[in-house]
């Protein structure tokens, strides 16, 4: 068949593709655009639906997931993602609405946002919430921007943010993005912030202390009220990284601990799926004094109708377009409705029970970095195993052979050979017992047949991946087809 090269719909369109010509007269783009504007070729192959479906079915099988595997990835709160929530997020009335539709046509969505804001306020004790941030890190960015603007409005000159040495990388990175210098405060022998050192570091330049509590060692910062007093006495604010809030649901509130600004990772604590790295949602709450600084818009209610309020006095503006990751928010809202107060409390308690059970059961084989009662996660150190030649990395890779997703490795940075284990409340004792047995088996293999561990994984889709080569010779895309 001879091919006419003209760029018009008639010439190209397979009448029975996904879409069909609308019937309007076709315009030759050459009549509208200079020739140099127009593309001759798109270097993308034409595939059939079966080919694409089959390709992804195969990829999908080469993957661990929460749905098929125990996934005790510390700091990530890989709790079960209920199916009903996916169903609800997929309703046409949610995923088929446009952000700029008239308020009258989106009352359901506005009400959902409003109710979710209210629920998160109650859960955290904050006065108001923004659902705009797309992730935990963007929540942090939003929160620290608010803190910056707050000090600015107040006329405070603040240049520093204090974070503990156990902090997640996003905390210092956020501080920098917001133009602050990061000051690191060391942890003490109990794994908690060293109050004396903190006091020494505190001066009038400190805009805020950023904490997660329980901290990344899974330990509750029991001096939190003292920390709060200290920073507030210097006119600074206390920021709560809510990534670890799960064990405290219904137990305490960030407001009671003295926090002024809070982000919550809805994709952790509130059970929305992680989607191989996102989309999540990093809802951001503030105390009353900071309410006017939230990004706009926030959902508001007047009489019986809901609307977007853009009128916040000191708003930092926007951190993204539209209103946040709505379909994630629908899931989080459904989760809160389903659990209610009692369910949230039970979730918290069971996350702590599960983590401590692992801690106690594993402590004879693997060193517990800080051997105290923990909250939702426990950080092991594979130091002993390392001495015998098997590192935290080796152990992690061996877990893959047993069908278990490895814990977070080498974090927090202050623990050597760290294996950070967060079982979450949605796993059963049976699953934990299996994990304990497997961890013992691996420890045993290290003594009896260490090559199995050093060469792991043996049964995965690929053998151990050469990450050094990947960084040295970056191959970041398929070879371009001649275009």
């Amino acid at each position: 068949m001879a091919e006419d090269k003209k760029n018009t719909v008639e010439k190209i369109l397979d009448k029975t593709g996904y879409v069909a010509s609308s019937g309007v007269p076709s315009v030759n783009p050459e009549n509208i655009f200079p020739g140099s504007f127009l593309r001759k070729k798109i270097p993308i192959t034409d595939s059939g639906e079966l080919e694409v479906v089959r390709h992804y079915a195969c990829l999908s099988r080469n993957n661990f997931s929460l749905e098929a595997n125990f996934y005790p990835l510390g700091s990530c709160t890989m709790k079960y993602n209920p199916k009903i929530n996916d169903y609800l997020a997929g309703l046409e009335g949610f995923c088929g609405i446009h952000p700029y539709q008239d308020q009258r046509d989106i009352q359901g969505a506005l009400k959902l946002l409003y109710n979710l804001q209210q629920a998160l306020c109650e859960i955290t004790g904050m006065k108001s919430f923004s659902l705009e941030p797309s992730s935990g890190a963007q929540g942090e960015f939003t929160g620290i921007s608010i803190i910056r603007k707050y000090h600015q409005v107040k006329g405070n000159k603040k240049t520093k943010i204090i974070v503990p040495d156990s902090a997640h990388g996003t905390n210092p990175a956020t501080a920098s993005m917001c133009g602050f210098n990061t000051v690191t405060v060391e942890s003490d022998s109990r794994g908690l912030i060293d109050i004396n050192k903190l006091e020494q570091l505190l001066d009038d330049d400190v805009a805020a202390v950023m904490l997660t509590n329980p901290n990344t060692l899974g330990l509750f910062e029991k001096n939190i009220l003292e920390i709060s007093r200290l920073i507030h006495s210097r006119g600074g604010l206390l920021y709560y990284d809510g990534a670890n809030f799960n064990p405290l649901l219904g137990i305490t509130k960030p407001s009671l601990m003295g926090f002024d600004v809070v982000h919550l990772n809805l994709h952790k604590t509130f059970s929305t799926p992680h989607g191989t790295g996102g989309p999540g949602a990093g809802a951001l709450g503030v105390v009353e004094e900071l309410t006017g600084f939230l990004p706009v818009p926030v959902a508001a209610k007047k009489d019986q109708s809901f609307y977007f309020d853009y009128s916040l006095k000191h708003s930092i503006g926007r951190v993204r377009s539209f209103y946040g990751n709505f379909s994630v928010l629908v899931r989080a809202y459904a989760y809160i409705l389903r659990l209610g107060a009692r369910g949230l409390l039970r979730a918290a308690q069971n996350s702590v029970i599960n983590a401590n059970y692992l801690r106690v059961k594993l402590q004879s084989l693997y060193e517990v970095a800080y051997p105290f009662i923990c909250m939702h996660e426990v950080v092991l150190s594979a130091q002993r195993q390392k001495e015998k030649g098997a590192s935290a990395l080796d152990i992690s890779k061996r877990l893959i052979d047993y069908g278990i997703h490895p814990p977070t490795m080498y974090f927090p940075l202050i623990v050597k050979e760290a294996l950070m284990v967060e079982p979450t409340e949605t796993e059963s004792k049976k699953t934990l017992d299996d994990f304990i047995r497997i961890m013992a088996e691996i420890n045993n293999e290290i003594d009896t047949d260490i090559s199995k561990v050093k060469n792991a994984p043996l049964k995965a889709a690929v053998k151990r991946v050469d990450e050094v080569a990947a960084a040295r010779f970056p191959d970041l895309r398929r070879k371009a087809q001649s275009s």
Partner: protein, 447 residues
């Protein structure tokens, strides 16, 4: 309790193993003064059935765009999404996997994202793409920050940005010592090139412009990129990736960084989110890129394998010196785009882009015929354009009563354009839809 598997008996046993007599004891580190006394004042938990009924009822209080004859676009586009896109995503293990830190048990995700990166390079012509950002607005902000890092300069020139992108950029620069200057438009709606030239100097890190710009017009990038280059200014273009199915890739015009929103590539409307942000650049800027990047490498047997790479740019390694604080991105949406692009192929993409174009051009043409309608700019647009009518807001309201959403009202963002409307056509519009709009508009205006 929903989603809790431990039975009371399990819990009893576990507490015993732990060596505490109650779960309360596990919370002993928490000062009692900050312990909640009562329970949270939330409603009691509901059964799944009740949750479903209640939230379905909320969803029915929204009227989906598809129930209208709608010409809304303005950054969120109602393209047709093949059923296979969502079916593949929903049934995949991608949905409930975390970021693929552990390469060996995440080859599926990794390969899918590598393909995404490849597709973005294919479309934009750029050398490298990251694994996604949140949305177009934050991608633009990250691109701007990237240009500041690359050049070490202090100023950003912008033009034609979506108002919400502009606001996001401002917020991202809030704490930093950078300034933003908006280049004016000519009366034709395009970048005023003279003004641009005058603003170029060695303080300027980048010129960040949108094409299509917010009014739908396609800029002539190659007419000014040599000037940028000569001043050491980076060209940052915000692109609608679907427009690149008919328009030449920005790389051809000497653009340094391309960013944009990926929603048009197989994303549902979703009330505006989540979609994803795309970011691609020339290879030389790779190490300045924010966000995750997947690389292809090999395993220890030499078989091809994929992994996260160049992580030394990122927060978990570089902490306060990282290129960005981003951690979770929008991978699932990016994979959705890869699926969409695979399904459409060159032919499908070209069809969709040309059909959108044809529809928009037809609407423009038909509007022209109506007395009282002004078309302030020309026809060099992709799928949306601006028109003007007296009492625009009230005309829109009257059309709405006839089930027509005429477009996006510009009067709020641009007080000087209080009678202007931005209307968009995707391939989902039929000739009948457009004719119906025109007829009802004529009726509204002239009875």
């Amino acid at each position: 309790m929903p989603y809790i598997l431990n039975t009371p008996k399990d819990i009893e046993q576990m507490l015993k193993v732990i060596g505490v007599s109650s779960v309360e004891e596990l919370y002993q580190d928490i000062p009692s003064s900050i312990r909640l006394k009562g329970s949270l004042s939330l409603r009691e938990g509901l059964s799944e059935f009740e949750v479903k009924k209640e939230i379905e009822a909320l969803s029915r209080k929204n009227t989906p765009l598809s129930r209208f004859n709608s010409f809304l676009g303005a950054g969120c586009y109602d393209h047709y999404v093949p059923a296979a896109v969502e079916a593949i995503l929903a049934s995949s293990s991608f949905l409930t996997a975390y970021t693929p830190y552990q390469a060996e048990c995440s080859q599926g995700s990794l390969e899918a994202i590598y393909e995404y990166q490849s597709f973005i390079c294919d479309l934009t012509g750029m050398d490298v793409s990251n694994a996604s950002l949140f949305d177009g607005a934050s991608a633009l902000a990250e691109a701007a920050l990237m240009s500041l890092r690359i050049t070490g300069r202090k100023k950003i020139l912008i033009h034609g940005l979506h108002p919400e992108y502009r606001k996001t950029l401002d917020t991202y620069l809030l704490g930093l010592e950078f300034s933003v200057e908006e280049i004016p438009s000519g009366s034709d709606g395009f970048i005023d090139k003279k003004a641009l030239e005058e603003s170029l100097n060695d303080e300027v890190a980048c010129f960040a412009f949108a094409s299509p710009n917010f009014f739908g017009l396609i800029e002539d990038a190659q007419s000014f990129t040599p000037n940028l280059k000569s001043k050491g200014v980076l060209g940052v273009m915000v692109a609608n990736p679907l427009s690149l199915a008919m328009l030449n890739p920005p790389a051809l015009f000497g653009i340094d960084i391309v960013c944009g929103d990926g929603q048009a590539l197989g994303g549902r409307l979703n009330f505006g989110g989540p979609a994803f942000g795309l970011l691609a650049s020339k290879g030389q800027y790779l190490r300045h890129m924010p966000g995750r990047i997947i690389g292809k490498t090999h395993d220890k047997d030499g078989s091809p394998a994929y992994c996260l790479t160049l992580q030394t740019r990122e927060q978990h390694i570089r902490r306060q010196k990282a290129t960005s604080n981003i951690c979770s991105n929008h991978s699932l949406n990016a994979i959705g785009a890869a699926i969409y692009l695979s399904l459409m192929g060159e032919k499908g993409l070209r069809s969709v882009s040309l059909m959108s174009f044809d529809n928009a051009q037809y609407l423009y043409q038909r509007l022209k015929e109506i007395r009282g309608i002004k078309l302030p700019y020309g026809r060099r647009f992709f799928n949306e354009f601006v028109w003007e009518v007296e009492e625009a807001a009230s005309v829109m309201e009257k059309l709405r009563n006839k089930n027509i959403i005429a477009g996006y009202y510009l009067g709020n963002d641009f007080p000087e354009f209080k009678n202007r409307i931005l209307s968009c056509c995707t391939e989902t519009k039929s000739k009948d839809d457009i004719d119906n709009f025109i007829q009802e508009l004529a009726e509204v205006l002239h009875g």
